[in-house]
């Protein structure tokens, strides 16, 4: 089967609605189909990869550890929009440490998160074949 560039655009907070959780389920299937998968986080979507998530008080599953497994599925391109982070008073330090192992570089751990401006993100979107927004 052909390989296409799939972009999963995440726009919503991780809890409150089911979109983030069900988006992640599609991402894992996309990776299993050996597609060229990227993720983008804009708006409240940046909270999906925030550090130290704790759902004890709301009775929902904390699914944030799953993002740490993405590197093992060769999902290594996680674009975070700079303007969205800044508008929420967040910096890269507030996000999980998401990495992947580069087997072509002696399994060096490399960061998956790429901080980009809205303009830079637009250029990334231009390169995609399929964009699924959540």
């Amino acid at each position: 089967m052909a390989t296409k560039k799939f972009m999963f655009l995440n726009r919503k907070a991780p809890y409150g609605t089911v979109y983030a959780l069900e988006s992640l389920e599609v991402v894992l299937i996309g990776a299993a189909f050996e597609q060229d998968v990227s993720l983008a986080f804009i708006g409240d979507g940046v909270y999906q990869i925030a550090k130290n998530q704790n759902t004890d008080g709301i009775g929902m599953k904390n699914f944030s550890p799953t993002y740490k497994a993405l590197g093992d599925y060769e999902v290594t391109k996680l674009y975070v929009e700079k303007e969205s982070l800044e508008a929420r008073g967040l910096t890269l330090d507030d996000l999980m440490d998401l990495t992947w192992e580069d087997e072509d570089d002696d399994y060096a751990e490399k960061p998956s998160i790429r901080l980009v401006s809205a303009a830079e993100l637009a250029a990334v979107f231009d390169e995609q074949d399929v964009v699924l927004s959540f």
Partner: protein, 130 residues
């Protein structure tokens, strides 16, 4: 052009399903092909035949079934999303020990791979949702 469609919202609460229907009809009339319609999130609620809207309102579920039968369109309901929301076909109901099923004519239940495959095969993948 060959289109794949994704519907992410349920009927009536949100216009996404109506808009997707209108798009499919217009695309078919213009000579395009609809490869597949994939229902995800609350969109799976478009696929229950237990829908009974008031008589003076449109019946969105039946519109989808009619479209599928008239144009041989593949309507796929995501199994994981369907299980969460109580959409069942006979096989799935038997497997889960549930005493009935509600899948509408023309719809089938399958996995998320069908969505990815739609994206790979179609020229354009369109998402209708919030």
């Amino acid at each position: 052009m060959k289109y794949s469609i994704m519907v992410n919202e349920g009927p009536y609460t949100h216009q996404a399903s109506d808009t997707a229907l209108h798009f499919c009809k217009a695309a078919l009339e213009a000579g395009h092909e609809i490869f597949r319609v994939f229902f995800y999130h609350d969109g799976v609620n478009n696929g229950t035949r237990f829908t009974v809207p008031p008589q003076d309102d449109r019946n969105i579920q039946q519109e989808w079934s009619k479209l599928a039968s008239a144009h041989d369109i593949d309507l796929v309901v995501c199994i994981a999303a369907a299980q969460r929301r109580g959409i069942m076909d006979a096989d799935e109901a038997k497997r889960q020990g549930i005493d009935g099923n509600n899948i509408a004519p023309g719809f089938r239940i399958s996995g998320l791979g069908q969505l990815i495959e739609g994206g790979i095969i179609a020229d354009r993948q369109l998402v209708f949702g919030d």
